[in-house]
Amino acid sequence: MGYPHPSHPKETVVLSKYFGDAEARTYPGWVKRGGYEALKKALGMTPDAIIEELKASGLRGRGGAGFPTGLKWSFMPKGDGKPHYLVCNADESEPGTFKDREIMRWTPHQLIEGCAIAAYAIGAETCYIYIRGEFTEPWKVMSRAVDDAYANGALGGNVFGSGKRIDMVLHRGAGAYICGEETAMMNSIEGRRGNPRIKPPFPAQAGLFGMPTTINNVETLAATSPILLRGAAWYKGLCLGNPKSTGTKLFSVCGHVMKPGNYEITMGFPMNDLIHDLAGGMRPGRRLKAVIPGGSSVPIMTAAEAEASLCDYEGIIEKGSMLGSAGFIVMDDSADIVYEIYRLAKFYAHESCAQCTQCREGTAWTTKILERILKGQGKREDLDLLLDLSDKMTGRTICVLSDSCAAPIVSGIKKFPEEFDAYLSRAKAPALATVG
């Protein structure tokens, strides 16, 4: 399996410190490693004080959007008398991303503790952890950990004697990428199709079951306990120059690297080092061609862009893409950019919920055009058509799945025109067979 790998000296291990440490999975093992101290500390603080600490830490959402976590929590109404809900987004489905899976597999109590802290801070008595259906192993680990947390008073009607009730329910997804979108996830938990909802109303106003709701990614919630224990200043200090991107983050690196895996690095870490050093670089004789850094929903980067980029929210924007969920799909010079973009378009066409016209029809149409190009039947005007359709699929739908499909297409055509040209000029043999 080759994973978990021993941590690289350039990593800053906070969340991944106990990856591979089987004992850390157990309740006593986690307590022995300082677990649940943060929750106990939190229960002695006011919710407002916790939110302020989070704000001061600079922690931003690790699911993709990068929204400041403390600020998000502060949107929850106070004293409204309604039930509040916390939803933990463990529907990790963004191609290239596999960090939340490891947090749940190795340090389930780290997540439970973070969820409990967040629930307390936002006034929620119930936390639903939405785990994607395919994550059978994380599900088993989490189920057992939740049971143990209840048995030890870390969850339930009187958490650690505080008089506070925090219940945790694991909810299993059933195969739908779009349920990772927060409003789609709420619909899914409610027993509906996972259709994204129109905003407003925002979840903090009317979310799950119509009640004020906060939704955070696994990694975001897991990061709250070290922040509370070691202080906002410490976390904010984990920063390589850009005060807008602080702390550590798990970067999933996959594709054409020698050592794929999750690497926990301080925000602002050079992408060149991440790919060529931590992740072991290219296979012998291969050169880096392209990177899609944010999971698949962001623009593709050329080797030059990637090697010059810093790994944080702003640094990657500066180089023409986005951090997203920090799932790096690395491609060496053997990769067929056109094919990989086609494969991603096919993914989005498969996952489109079918609500918005542009997305439902556009993801399927662009896939067909890319398929035609790969069959050696492409037309010169196909590129303009793809760009035009992508433009019309961007910024016009309820959620951003449609935009996500367009991003790799547009950037791929602009940054790797020669790859498309090879098929269009028939210089390259068709990658897909023609049927019939």
Binding site: M1, G2, Y3, P83, E92, S93, E94, P95, G96, T97, F98, D100, R101, R132, G133, E134, F135, T136, E137, D167, V169, H171, R172, G173, A174, G175, A176, Y177, S188, I189, E190, G191, R192, R193, G194, F209, S252, V253, C254, G255, H256, P260, G261, N262, I292, S296, G327, I329, M331, A335, Y339, E340, R343, L344, F347, H350, E351, C353
Partner: protein
């Protein structure tokens, strides 16, 4: 290990799923949610675990226990690709084929599995009823390409060479 290991269910008259332990499992879910409808996805899972797939009668049964209409339940069930609304082989195999895994050779793994199982093509069930193979979208284990899920077991870093050995564990 494998909950969904059910082969022949073609002609037998439908027996309700929500009796005995399955009923208790379902009942235990209700207090966890403020609405009955929220138990829909878990209830469909219980049917699939019990039957290996979700037949129309199962849809109707879920609708009845949750106070929904069969059409509503079917609309939701068809949204989620992991629910089998048609019978499948004793062992259901999902092979990731999205870009990260494709870059790492998932096509070869898929072909090896199709060949080894005798399924021949995607979505088909092998003549012996043992396997059904599908290619699925990102399984969230891109760093351990190629991930393959067989029933409820997650196998990562699968290579064509490992395929026969892994499949041998699923009689």
């Amino acid at each position: 290990m494998s909950a969904a290991t059910h082969g022949s269910h073609a002609e037998a008259p439908y027996q309700p799923v929500f009796v005995g332990a399955s009923r208790e499992k379902l009942e235990a879910l209700f207090p966890k949610y403020p609405t009955k409808q929220a138990v829909l996805l878990p209830a469909l899972w219980i049917v699939q675990e019990g039957r290996g797939w979700i037949p129309p009668e199962g849809i109707a049964e879920v609708a009845a226990v949750l106070g929904l209409t069969p059409a509503y339940v079917r609309g939701v069930a068809t949204f989620y690709t992991m629910y089998h609304l048609h019978p499948v082989g004793r062992h259901f195999i999902q092979v990731c084929g999205t870009s990260p895994c494709h870059l790492c050779g998932s096509d070869d793994v898929l072909h090896a599995i199709l060949k080894e199982t005798g399924c021949g093509e995607l979505g088909a069930t092998s003549p012996d009823g043992r396997f059904t193979v599908t290619e699925v979208e990102c399984l969230g284990a891109c760093g351990f390409a190629t991930p393959v899920i067989i029933d409820d077991d997650f196998h990562d870093s699968v290579t064509p060479e490992r395929v026969p050995g892994i499949l041998a564990r699923y009689p």
